[in-house]
């Protein structure tokens, strides 16, 4: 069962594209593969729409699908030697050079901290603490018990705090 009509699907795509993109990137899908992954998320969403509980918000459901796609990506690539990501150029960047550097450093700092989390913890922490999604919605989107979400959140946050404080 697909989306009821193309216009509704288009509206969902329009509103959620960037959130899905960012979520996948934060779960470790590199820029070179993220377009494929976003494509897959929306294709699956369209075909699975029949399983979507419309009483619930759309974004957590989509991010739940994105989590599964990201986990598949990681399984496929776990044996590979990581390749250095080329820095993206921002030819039209209107910011001052020091702002650009500071922003890039902040982003790296965040990802270094996220890298300490396993993917289950990362999925929860990013959804809750970067997307602002409440715990019950996360539990529903990931199809895990509420207490599991709380536990992953607690462990994940402890690791992030340690990383940001420079603790081992």
């Amino acid at each position: 069962m697909g989306f009821p009509d193309d216009t509704a699907f288009a509206a969902a795509y329009d509103t959620e594209f960037e959130a899905v993109w960012l979520y996948l990137r934060r779960l470790g899908v590199p820029e070179a593969d993220v377009e494929d992954a976003v494509h897959d998320v929306f294709v699956v969403a369209h075909r699975r729409y029949g399983t979507y509980d419309r009483a619930r918000p759309l974004r957590p459901w989509l991010l739940g699908i994105a989590f599964r796609i990201a986990a598949q990506w990681r399984r496929r690539h776990r044996l590979e030697v990581p390749v250095a990501q080329p820095e993206r150029e921002f030819p039209d960047d209107a910011r001052a050079p020091d702002e650009v550097v500071a922003s890039r450093q902040a982003s790296r700092r965040l990802h270094a901290a996220l890298a300490r989390l396993d993917i289950d913890q990362r999925a929860v922490v990013v959804m809750h603490d970067l997307n602002g999604i409440p715990v019950p919605e996360i539990a529903s989107a990931l199809d895990v018990p509420l207490n599991t979400v709380y536990s992953r959140l607690r462990l994940g946050r402890a690791k992030i705090t340690a990383a940001l404080r420079g603790e081992p």
Binding site: D5, D6, T7, F9, A10, A11, Y13, D14, F17, E18, A19, W21, L22, R26, P30, E31, A32, D33, E35, D36, H39, D40, F42, V44, H46, R47, R48, R68, I69, Q72, R76, V81, V83, A84, Q85, P86, R88, A102, S103, R104, A106, S107, L110, H111, D129, L130, N131, G132, I133, P134, V135, Y150, S151, L153, R154, R157, A158, I160, T161, R165
Partner: protein
Amino acid sequence: MSERLPGELPDEWEDLGRADASELAPPAGAKERVQRRVAVTLGLGAGFLAATAAGSSAAAAGLGGAGAAGGAGAAGGGTGAAATGLAGALLVKKLLVMGVVAAVGVGGGTAAYLEVRSERARSRAPVVTPPPAPAPVARPVAPPVPEPAPAEAPVDTLGEERGLLDGARQDIARGKLPEAGALLDRHAAEFPSGQLAEEREALVIRLLLREGREREARSRAQRFRQLHPRSIQLPGIDDALRERR
């Protein structure tokens, strides 16, 4: 922000999230490019493509609750995009026929037209250590894509299809041509009319070129063009054929 019960995060967290959202924001044209691919895979028409053509990508994708999050470049999108909405939608319909997709600028509502190129040729990360290229093998490569995929393909196979094609693409990039061929053959056997059948055929053509089987590549490309005259894979196929010349 919602409840913050189990453990606290350092104060800098929200600033880091905001900076990260702007660093990782999709590049110009990505939204339209992916949208077109989704439309091809699902067999959706202009109703899907035109409906969002004028939309801004100002979705709050960053920190929930922190209003300005994810907003790099999103400011001012609303009114400008609305004003150019109708014109944008009409142009998109026209340009899609020409294999070109329209991207409505987020900031000022100006329209930029981006050619749909081989998204992979440009964006793949470099390869670590390419092993020596093996000699071409006489291997029957998968038959050309049959006519359009059935509308209700099973949902759960997309990951499997993606895995096979992902592997094949990497093998081609690393010069592991027999391995790539084996994966493509497997995809063709298991998913003859799969959701990613067009992507498979584009990879087969690329592989044939790498194997030096240029005539076969060209005839398959020609057949592909007849079957899928508006495929998003065509620009990439053309690029590969041109490089060969």
